[in-house]
């Protein structure tokens, strides 16, 4: 017998009646967007709360990296390429978008490989690709670097700001937190495999479900999580079968591993997280844009006192933060919760008078 979306909602309601407050963190920005797109919270019982985690790679890109991007892109000799999401993320009063308005050649690409065509039609320019994203997108950047190496193209380089998910989740949730379970990112897991998320029950002692992105898939994963909480089981259930396998996409993982290696990385508003970034291995270091361009020495520090990590853990609310609404607002955001239009601080700010 086939279960409908309504069946899932009814089962969730039935379980929720017997439970107290439950907070489920979705760590993936695309989950956040899908949850909003399908209006999922409006069909959930009041005691089941979804909170957005640090899973939007655009929002967590450090101000220092954005500053480097702005400094590289602000040159007549450069064609700067990036995903559309990155265009409006501000650093101070500037963004890639404002640089483009001022006449710099900044192009939105839908694949890193677009940089190769651009480099060939513009041999007199240096093309820079801004590599952002988690495990899902890192293989693409590795493939680009591998290809420019093979083809011996000397006018492309990469500003590498890739990050990895498990380290960040562990860092954020290893201590006391008010999150009861995790909705794990289906497309990161398509690359890493479901085993990469077994640390959630094992190390963090939380139940988890890997989910797809349709309304049915998200609700099925929520139901699975509630069932685990109810029966006191702590596992990572793969609710995105057919897309996510145990060991993931080995070819993609091999490519990341050949071209990049782990390093510490700074997350906007969260600070430095050990082993959560990816840098080029020595063999490919020549493609690192930071080695090709002179970047002004004055490093941008992450602002002090940002409460994003506490807010993500559920320990704080936005108004606890001294910066909220003053030195941190949607036009000049400090941490990811204010950068993302789905972030808690952004929503609080937007609806503060309502």
């Amino acid at each position: 017998m086939k279960n409908s979306i309504e069946d899932l909602i009814n089962a969730i309601k039935l379980l929720a009646e017997t439970m107290s407050e439950v907070s489920i963190m979705e760590v993936c920005g695309t989950h956040t967007a899908s949850i909003r797109k399908y209006g999922i919270p409006s069909v959930l019982p009041g005691n089941i709360r979804l909170v957005s985690g640090p899973g939007c790679p655009v929002c967590v890109t450090s101000q220092e990296d954005i500053n480097m991007a702005l400094s590289i892109a602000d040159s007549e000799k450069v064609i700067f390429t990036c995903f559309g999401d990155m265009m409006r993320v501000p650093c101070g009063d500037k963004s890639l978008y404002s640089l483009r308005e001022a006449g710099r050649d900044i192009r939105i690409v839908t694949s890193p490989m677009d940089a190769i065509d651009i480099s060939k039609t513009n041999p007199e320019k240096q093309v820079v690709y801004f590599g952002i994203g988690f495990e899902t997108t890192a293989p693409h950047t590795a493939a680009l670097v591998d290809e420019i190496d093979k083809q011996n193209i000397n006018n492309i380089s990469v500003l590498n700001s890739h990050k990895t998910m498990p380290q960040a989740i562990t860092h954020l949730l290893k201590d006391e937190c008010r999150v009861d379970a995790l909705l794990c990112p289906g497309h990161v897991a398509a690359i890493t495999g479901s085993d990469a998320f077994s640390f959630v029950p094992e190390k963090l002692n939380l139940p988890a479900a890997i989910a797809g992105f349709e309304a049915y898939e998200i609700l099925a994963a929520i139901l699975s999580i509630l069932t685990m909480l109810k029966t006191n089981r702590k596992e990572c259930v793969n609710m995105y079968p057919g897309v996510v396998t145990k060991s993931g996409n080995l070819k993609a993982l091999e490519l990341i591993n050949r071209v990049m290696e782990p390093e510490d990385a700074v997350w906007r508003g969260l600070g430095s997280i050990p082993g959560s970034g990816l840098r080029f291995r020595d063999r490919y270091a020549g493609f690192d844009a930071t080695k090709r361009f002179e970047i002004p020495g004055n490093k941008t520090q992450e602002p002090k006192g940002c409460l994003c990590s506490g807010i993500l853990r559920g320990e704080n609310i936005p108004t606890d933060c001294g910066h909220f609404g003053k030195s941190c607002n949607p036009h000049s955001p400090m941490g990811p919760c204010m950068v993302s239009s789905e972030g808690s601080c952004f929503s609080y700010y937007r609806y503060r008078d309502v």
Partner: protein, 333 residues
């Protein structure tokens, strides 16, 4: 004639005359324009509607349209949604020196063809040429005049609780067509714009005297969402039935791929109507008989409320619809 526009073409001298005689007049030819007087003398009488709009588009030509067809449709549609019958338009052009004469000819032909389809006459015009890099190939301004046929009730442009919301065709086609062409996104077959003059579509509704329209608007920049958000008042809510708003399959797929909401994407060939429930079916029937109204659909309703616009899904969830924020950019997150 030269193959490119030069500053001399805007000087008012011999070259300018050549441009008018060889390019503009043959294309636009009509009894109001041909005397080449300083002003066109027109028949009006009673109330008239007037509007103006400027067009800067890149690329100049895109699947389904070009800056010329857009400059006519856009202005004609602004007249049509105010309830007027579009009659006359002016065409002002600012040309960048160096523009290919063939490009200008193609645009002028497109203006002429679209004007004919729309039932309007180009009655006056002006052309200036600026130095290279002072403009981006060509900028066009059109102004339009429309008349109100006797007995026509001019819409108040205020929605009322109990109204039904009707759309006259598939949404998001224009915005996606231009985005695909501008950014070389590589969708194939290329996505076609819906750009079309809609004067006759609106006129078809008024053919039935019992049809009443409370509000109508062409949802251009900002898409259907922006129009609905502008319409809603502090005492009403607008509810859209999710999935009932028609979108062409190719446009829907392109939106999914780029992470864009079709409700936020620009249109140039559709109109949104808010009509009393009692005439919703008859307005719909009138629209569906027209060339540009075949895909018309009832997509939602107005209720008493507190100023929110939302969509309801078939499994009962509710989604807030908000104004889009700035230029829409493809996303991967």
């Amino acid at each position: 004639m030269e193959s490119k526009i030069t500053l001399a073409h805007g000087s008012g001298g011999e070259k300018y005359r050549e441009l008018v005689q060889e390019i503009f007049l043959p294309a636009y030819s009509n009894e109001y324009l041909s005397p080449l007087t300083d002003s066109a003398i027109l028949e009006g009488g009673g109330k008239i509607a007037m509007t103006t709009d400027s067009y800067v588009v890149r690329p100049l030509f895109f699947p389904g349209g070009d800056i010329g067809s857009l400059a006519v449709s856009g202005t004609v549609n602004d007249l049509a949604v105010s309830g007027a019958l579009p009659k006359y338009i002016s065409v002002g052009m600012i040309l960048e020196a160096g523009l290919e004469m063939d490009v200008l000819k193609r645009i002028v032909d497109s203006i002429s063809n679209t004007a004919e389809k729309a039932g309007v006459k180009v009655v006056t015009g002006d052309t200036k040429v600026v130095e290279s890099k002072s403009a981006d190939e060509i900028f066009i301004n059109t102004a339009g005049v429309g008349i109100f046929p006797s007995g026509r009730i001019i819409p108040t442009q205020k929605i009322e609780a109990g109204d039904r919301i009707i759309i006259s065709g598939c949404m998001a086609s224009h915005g996606m067509a231009v985005m695909n062409a501008r950014n070389n996104l590589g969708f194939s077959p290329p996505i076609e714009s819906d750009a079309a003059p809609l004067g006759k579509l609106v006129d078809a509704i008024f053919m039935n005297e019992n049809n009443i329209i409370h509000a109508m608007r062409d949802p251009t920049r900002g898409g259907v969402a922006a129009t609905l958000c502008e319409w809603v008042t502090s005492t009403t809510d607008i509810i859209i039935y999710q999935g009932s708003v028609p979108v062409r399959p190719d446009v829907a797929a392109a939106c999914r791929l780029l992470g864009l909401d079709p409700l936020h994407i620009a249109n140039e060939g559709i109109i949104l109507f808010s009509v009393p429930e009692k005439c919703a079916d008859s307005v719909l029937a009138a629209l569906r008989k027209e060339e540009y109204g075949k895909d018309s659909a009832i997509i939602g309703e107005v209720r008493e409320g507190r100023g929110t616009v939302s969509a309801v899904t078939d499994f009962g969830s509710k989604i807030r619809i908000t104004m889009p924020n700035g230029e829409l950019l493809p996303r991967i997150c």
